[in-house]
Every structure is written in structure tokens, then in C-alpha cells.
Amino acid sequence: MALLNTHEVLETINMIKDENLDIRTITMGVSLFDCVSDDEDKLCGNVYEKIVSSARDLVSCGEDIEKTYGIPIINKRVSVTPVSLIGGHLSADGYIKLAKTLDRAANALSINFIGGFSALVQKGMSDSARRMISVIPEALSETGLVCSSVNVASTKAGVNMDAIIEMGGAIKRAAYLTKDKNSIACAKLVVFANVPEDNPFMAGAFHGMGEPERVINVGVSGPGVVAAAIDRAGDCSLLELAEIIKKTSFKITRMGQLVAREASQRLGVPFGIVDLSLAPTPAVGDSVAHILENMGLEQTGCPGTTAALAMLNDAVKKGGVMASSSVGGLSGAFIPVSEDAGMIDAVKAGSLTLEKLEAMTAVCSVGIDMVAVPGDVSEAVICGLIADEISIGVANTKTTAVRVIPAYGKRAGDEIDFGGLLGSAPIMKINTISPRRFIERGGRIPAPIHSLKN
């Protein structure tokens, strides 16, 4: 073949056909700063108009690219400026109305999620952010496509425990308000430390303050491709394994870079970043846990899991960074429980516990993600879980997050099914001994020192 060799062509085809390689999402970031108004209706009207006019061609453009390049593009999404920054005088009810406006815009565009019902409160809470956070449960239970995130800590500011207390309550209430739908509102709500402002993945996507008017960010996927490459490598040393992962990650990310460039060009919107994450889906052969098992673990969760995951995460980044002109977002291996067939199996078999999962999040992105726990777990325990996870991020200067579902009326060992990409989650056992007195002290955990490292 003139420039291509058959082996390479068939390798690409095989990745798409048999190993679930896909572009997970094209996410358009849209700034809402120019939508500000002191009139509630006018603000909502401006927001609707801005989103719909900005992303009018997003879905059709994504479908065209999909057809031209023969690569599936699973999701087309929009992220907006954290609404707490543009809400101004909006009342709590006004924020619910704004959430419904976002939902209406998302439906009009036929996108599958819209992110940015968000607030950044790592150091303290403005009145506006407080009103917004107070209605997150209602906003998420009364809409279908809106995603919400709150950054409660950063390495520079420390941990805002007052905000964590608010979020513990919000998560429990969101679970209750959607008790007839397996507490699904909690699957659309993330609590962050060191949140990235250009993340294309939901539920944590929003359009950060330092971002341009509009931007195209792309999230790639491909756990199946990495797992298959490791499988083919057979009994090689860890150094060789790292090389294989790097090369595979490079190829996957190049695909993301191509799609991002193409989408940016066609839509006339600047290219932002490629997020080089390994994002699993519940589909067979699309699991991060199976990569770890192909690396040599009997089952994910066994001793050695953290080491294998650390190596995987590092190699993915090393390979991906060279493949794209601009890398950002969450970039790493995701370990959501409900969205990963191998993780679900490991939990069911008793190999993977919540405590091991927490350790794993210290070396990968993102955190305690899509973990279902019994519905009767106390608010204080949820807050403790959040504080622990968030502290791992703060101390290690990395992003961590919690997306936990205290599934109303369910007990450990039960299972809930969300369908689609969100998958189904076994209810995990959680230590219910209370950290209440520690949490209720409130205030902030100071920012960590960055010398005297040990």
C-alpha cells in the first residue's frame, strides 16, 4: 500500500471492531459569563439561547466525523461555566429553574449530558454558591441530563469541611428524592478535590474560568485495546509491559487528537485538550479491572492491585502525552465500579473492598466513583468517606473525587441497575462506625505543607 501497510490497517480495524476502541466523548465547553442578568427569566433565556446557538451542530458534526473516520463517538456533551458564578441574586428556586433550563437546552440539542451545575468552594462558600448547593438534590431529581459537581478542597486551600457537610446532606437527599429510580440523582453528582477545569467527562465536567468563550475537549477510551495488547504480550517483564501500554496509549490518543482537531475545525471552535483516560464501560472487553488481571492479578482488589494500577496509570500518561498537542482533564485510568464489568465481579467475589478501592485512588484518576453503599448509612459516614478521599487528593496534589450512591432502601449485597453507560452497581459494605464528632467540628483542614516530604 502506498503509505499504509495492511498490518497497520487491520490493527486499527481490529481495535475498533473487537476491542471496543472508541472516542468516549466530544464535549463542547461554553462560557455563560455574558448571560448574566439580575432578572431570573432573562438569565435563563440568555443561558438557553447561548447553549443552543453554540452547540447547534455538535451532534450532527460528531455523527459526520464518526462516519468519515469509521470510529464510534459515543457521547456528545456540553459543559458550561459553573452556574454558581453566573447566578448572582438567583434564589434557591431560581437555581432549580436554571437547572431545568440547562436540561431543556440539552434535550433540544439531543446531547446526552450537560455539566456545570457546579460550584467551587474549596476555601469558602459565597451566598450564591450556598443557595445553589442547597438545591442540588431537587435540581438533579427534577431534570434528566444535568450533571453537578462541587469542588470542596484543593492543595492550595486545604479541605473545606463545612462544604463536605453540605455535600453529605445533599447526597443523602438526592438519593431519597430519586428512591424510585435507584437513587440515580447521586450518579450525576461529584464531589471534587483539585478539580480540573477542562474535563470532558461527566458527571464532573464544567467550563472553567480561565477557558475561552467556547472550546472542544475530547475524551478517548480504550481499556479493551490495552487489555488485548497485554494479553498478546504473554510472559514479558514489567519493563516490556510498560512499553506495550505506552505504545497502545499513544495510538489511542492519536485517534482522539485527530477527532478533536477535526471537530474543532468543522465547528469553528478552538481545540482545548484531549483527555487520555482509560474509561471503562459495562460492555464485555471494556474493563480497566481486566487490564489489571491481564497484567497478572488473580482478581482486582488482591494485594498488588495498587502497584499494577500505578504502573498502568503512569504508562498511559507517558504514551498519551506525546500523541496530543495538548493533554488535560482527568487523564488516567478510571475505576468506576458500576461501569466496569471486572470491577463489579471483583466486588461480588469479595476481592475488592471499599478500603482497597480508596487506596487505588491514590495512584490513578479519579476516585471513589460510582460506588453504591447501603441506603441507611449515616450522613456523617458519607462525609467521612468524602473527607478521606478528598484528603488523598489534597495531600498528593492530584484530582480525587467521590461519586457515591447511598441507594435508598438497599442493603449490602443487593444490586442496583441504572442501565446504559452508568451500568449496575453491587451495594458495597461500608464501615459504619461514626466520624461525626470530627466532621461536625466544621471549618477547614489547612493546606498541606510541601516540603519535609516523607
Binding site: M1, I13, K67, T68, G70
Partner: protein, 90 residues
């Protein structure tokens, strides 16, 4: 633009004839072709084509090729060459 057509599946008589006839009908010029039959029955072909003088749009051509795949019971994919270039060339 240039595109790569790949055909994989069980070998039968006349696969290349069928694909190239369709290309000719659509004004799509074949630049290069490579084909092999593995283990006596698995057919794999890759074809580089030029769409410059095509009489139909690329998505329409993709649909037409997919239809041939359906007819012959083979996996036929028609993709912009850049996806392979970006993945395999630095």
C-alpha cells in the same frame, strides 16, 4: 481525500470484482490494493482509493460499501485514510 476500504470475512468468489465495480460506478479511483486469504478461508483486503472525482458524497459512498458488505456477508469498512496515518505514523 483518500480513503481506505477494508474487507474481512469468509472468502468467496468475486469479492474484489464486486467492490471495484462499485468504486468505478461511483467515480472512485483505486490507487493500491492488497489482499490475502489466511488459513485458507479468512479473506482480508485493504484498498486505498482516491475520492477526488467521486460522483457522490463520502457518507453516501460509505453507505453503498456497507450495503455490499451486507449483501456478501462480509465486514466492509470505508474510512478516511487519516485515521490510519495518525495512529501509525509520527
Amino acid at each position: 481525500m483518500k480513503a481506505v476500504i477494508t474487507v474481512t470475512g469468509r472468502d468467496t468468489t468475486g469479492i474484489i470484482a464486486r467492490v471495484s465495480t462499485e468504486c468505478a460506478k461511483s467515480g472512485v479511483n483505486i490507487l493500491d490494493i492488497s489482499q490475502s486469504v489466511m488459513q485458507g478461508e479468512f479473506f482480508a483486503m485493504t484498498m486505498l482509493v482516491d475520492m477526488k472525482n467521486a460522483s457522490l458524497s463520502f457518507p453516501e459512498f460509505v453507505d453503498r460499501m456497507n450495503a455490499i458488505g451486507g449483501e456478501l456477508g462480509l465486514d466492509v469498512r470505508t474510512m478516511h485514510e487519516d485515521i490510519f496515518n495518525s495512529m501509525h505514523k509520527i
